[in-house]
Assembly symmetry: C2
Amino acid sequence: MSKQSQQKPTSTDQNGVSVIQIQAHSSTSNSTGATAGLQQVPQLVPVSPGGGGKATPPSKMKKTIADKDSDEYRQRRERNNLAVKKSRMRSKQKALDTQQRVNELKEENERLEAKIKLLSKELSVLKDLFLEHAHNLADNVQPPTAAITAGDLCNNNNSGSNNGSQ
Amino acid sequence: MSKQSQQKPTSTDQNGVSVIQIQAHSSTSNSTGATAGLQQVPQLVPVSPGGGGKATPPSKMKKTIADKDSDEYRQRRERNNLAVKKSRMRSKQKALDTQQRVNELKEENERLEAKIKLLSKELSVLKDLFLEHAHNLADNVQPPTAAITAGDLCNNNNSGSNNGSQ
DNA sequence: GGGCATTGCGCAATTC
DNA sequence: TGAATTGCGCAATGCC
């Protein structure tokens, strides 16, 4: 129905642009999404020194304004608006995903750390056992077959220092 | 090329408010870059159904239009624009930080996993040593003090199976 | 050069 | 009452 954009370019002077925009909007008494639709009026490019000075630049601006009411323009705008919306949705989703990932990684980290703790404890127990046994051997008899000595166990560096091997 | 046809779902409708805006600005060239300075034309508040039928709300619209060129309005806008910019910068920074955090956590994860691997290996070696020793003992002599048996070592489940604990 | 995707920005409504 | 957020449209720009 009523196509409202039938406005003429309405002037376009050197410094500063004059644009007339007519807004005809439906209220549609929206309840939830009350985001009012609004239009924007462009300003071409921030060119044109207002302080009047030299001559008018090559002024590339010809239609720029004129095709505001063009059908094609409107279509392009609509398409872009759609694209923008899409892009923003994606961006937002990505941010959410990233946050989610942080949480997951944090959980995983805790799990791993718990496991490390467990393994360390196991290791420690085993070493103690070993040492104890070694002492017993030293106290009572001489190694029957010579298998384990305390030195074999104590040079393990599990204090986080990474060896260059492999 | 896809769907666009002639639909204009949002904005641009009938009945509503008409706003005329005249632009004559020498736009102080924006900050960085050449982001064109543009103005927007508002739409007032979607109030008062032009169709006029029944209950016309207590027309709340007072100036709304008039104060577009008000000094105070301009100041408010400027302040808000600043706030918006700030907010967006923060938001962006936060997103960046989150991403960074993901990377850090990933690294940490790898480190932890490597450590687990190392510990597991150590444990495995110790256990083997233990078993060997136990065999030796069994072959040659009877346990002098009775300290270690194979059973003590073999019930450790470090085969990656996750126990249900927490 | 056309077309979608991104991005910076301003406006207005809403939240705090 | 004012700052902070948020949704949205416009235009410039990036990228096929």
